[in-house]
Symmetry: C2
Subunit: 339 residues, 2 copies
Amino acid sequence: MVRGARNEGGGLFSALSRLMAMPLQALAADALPSWNEGPVKQAILDFVTRSTTEGDAGFIPPEARIATFDNDGTLWPEQPLVQGAFMLKPLRARVKQAPSLAKRQPFKAVLEGDLSGLSNMDKSKLMKLLGETHAGMTEEVFIREVRTFFQHARHPRWSVPYNQLAYVPMLELLRFLRANGFQTWISSGGGIDFIRVISEDTYGIPPQQVIGSHLKKTFDGGHAPSVLRREARVAHVNDKAGKPVGIDEHIGRRPVFAAGNVRSGGDIQMLQYTRRRPRPGFALLIHHDDAAREFAYEEKDGASLKAAREGGWAVVSMQRDWRRIFNGTRGARTGNGRG
Amino acid sequence: MVRGARNEGGGLFSALSRLMAMPLQALAADALPSWNEGPVKQAILDFVTRSTTEGDAGFIPPEARIATFDNDGTLWPEQPLVQGAFMLKPLRARVKQAPSLAKRQPFKAVLEGDLSGLSNMDKSKLMKLLGETHAGMTEEVFIREVRTFFQHARHPRWSVPYNQLAYVPMLELLRFLRANGFQTWISSGGGIDFIRVISEDTYGIPPQQVIGSHLKKTFDGGHAPSVLRREARVAHVNDKAGKPVGIDEHIGRRPVFAAGNVRSGGDIQMLQYTRRRPRPGFALLIHHDDAAREFAYEEKDGASLKAAREGGWAVVSMQRDWRRIFNGTRGARTGNGRG
């Protein structure tokens, strides 16, 4: 009893001593439990600590704390591309209407059940296809279609709804940034209206903080209620050099934090566009190098990793930096049970 | 002493009695002290009370409380058009570069010192002109130019900086809506980057909640820091049927409250676009009928007032509904000292 009490007292004292000796960043480390200790995690914690410490040279006033995130491959997997999976049904319906399309790509591949064709498609081509399948459709009908997709579709590998596959370390990062006064935005090459349907529930990001590609729309006031209809014409492709343009149009400020991933060089310009003065913004680049728990792929020309070296960006190795990737408790079965 | 005490007690008692007999809306009326009592003020108060009363059929969940405001003629005067006044200097500079332009309109009128030509110009034409004067310019340089304008330019009638002429009743309305959980947005036919420079200080509306017309921009990563440059091409005219399109792109939700003004029918579609279900949104249309304190003008075809009758919109008579228009304490001298 006496020993026990002394041990407890000693334990408490030594715990307090350790706590007081720890730098502030280490105390905040609990905010990112799914990140392994290492230079990337430390760099994030240091950046946020300095950004929020008044008097520090790295202090960022709250209104300038803008963080932008790519979506596919940065916040959730892009194999297959989720919007590509969504397009399967409307593309099949379109071929039924116009059977001659069955011989043309990507219609041909889709009819043969090959999702990879849609998955590897350039974002601007995917948007053009959306124009073919969704021209004339109103906002309200489109949103209903997307909701239905997310209710019923399942990821081919993990057999769970796509929006249950958000990366847990990135969800923690979004929450950590918001808790420190950052506004979190999505800046995706994918369709803006598609992502807006699930952004709030999946990422805690409201629709008005989603930037993406979109078709031209036309106001139709011919009846009440007035509606907006999609045209077959692509208005904006929010990919590559289009990302800073979309960010400027929606936010009107340079982000101080941006996150993207290695695959097609689609995020390079967004990461380059982070604020440079009075001090550099934070650029985070995710490298998919974990075939066991997620996927492993490289970029043909290595442009994103090259830009990362030149710009001093933080490169996330999914294998090394992420303790877990998916939220098992929400029903995601991972390939090897480790995810 | 005794009498005084009794009087105080009686006064307090009667004040309490009056207070308890007042409906809740009347208590909230203090939020709009520059609005005269009347059906328009009452309709605003009723709408906000019902929107925020859980269980009421008119309750609106916080995330759907989106309010959009036109700028010119709705939040500040449009005689002259502020962006038109801003254009004087760059247009003169452009004519100096290319003297042959001096014979073409609107250059000719500008050189002759006639601001009304610019003021009455269609928003899409004004944006085209901006393309002529500002093509190639970066964000950063443009913003500096706008700041300088607001520091030095004075309104020809009241001799104060343009951004000190925000309508006080509308500033109260913006604050009142925000205090009740509404997000306030600007949706202007004017240039998005122009308004963003002053929106936060003038209206309490951050840049990312400003929607407006804009030129196409191009990312230039050729040097560090990377920049965006304006092209001579108009990308979006946020006027008339363009307003719901801009609102949809930036917000992704239908507003439940929208405010515009009578002049060119530029706000009709935005007001029609307010949410209809489960119950109608609130549409506010300002009629400039106060030549003494501000300006009086009508619309050629009367389309806005006709749409207001058909849609049951609240029409503000500046003369009747606004107790004061400008904030005299900030140095605005009004035409007849009553403003």
